[in-house]
């Protein structure tokens, strides 16, 4: 009986521990992808959805190279 109780307590402890680890390492992959896309839009100036290539040659006036 004492042995069984001990085992149960150990099991509870182990499960709780696993639970904590699960919460800590949980990474919101979908949200991260969305965030990455928003930043890439900004950095590569793809925001207005339209073909980014068509925009590139000589858009901004005074943009001399």
């Amino acid at each position: 009986m004492a042995k069984l109780a001990c085992r149960a307590v150990l099991l509870a402890g182990a499960l709780t521990l696993v639970g904590c680890v699960t919460i800590n390492i949980y990474f919101p992959a979908a949200a991260a992808e969305k965030a990455a896309d928003r930043i890439i839009d900004e950095v590569w100036q793809l925001k207005n959805g339209a073909a980014p290539k068509a925009e590139e040659p000589g858009t901004a006036p005074g943009d001399k190279k």
């Binding site: 009986m1 069984l4 109780a5 149960a8 307590v9 099991l11 509870a12 402890g13 499960l15 709780t16 696993v18 639970g19 904590c20 699960t22 919460i23 800590n24 390492i25 949980y26 990474f27 919101p28 992959a29 979908a30 949200a31 991260a32 992808e33 969305k34 965030a35 990455a36 896309d37 928003r38 930043i39 890439i40 900004e42 950095v43 590569w44 100036q45 793809l46 980014p52 290539k53 590139e56």
Partner: protein, 141 residues
Amino acid sequence: MRTAIFFTAALAALASLLPAPALGQANLEINTPAIAALQRSMQQRHSQLASLYNSGAVGFTRDGNVALRDAKAVPLAQRQQVNALIASENQDRAALYREIARANGHPEWENDIRATFAQRWISRAQRGWYYQNASGAWVRK
């Protein structure tokens, strides 16, 4: 006594399962001054990098950086400048990944965020640009 212990164990197991799926709904925080500054800096650098992506001189690595892929595509006189450009870009990228992890209260997410970005840079890259595949070989999109 035995029932009580098993009940506790069952409760602990349940409690450990519940919160995980509930967490991931929200968006990640990316609106901080530090992240905005990095974004601007990378955006300004992009006009120079874009022509290097186009020529195949520079490509996207599988770890979320950029790297010199074909030095011969860069005139000797410009090579040093291109290397400096790559170094600053990678510095900004590292800072960006770190800042996003920090802004969300999970500095330990940095590598996951880097991995996510590595995938997204590559899948959003234009046709003709080069990237590293899973085994590290350069592939043209």
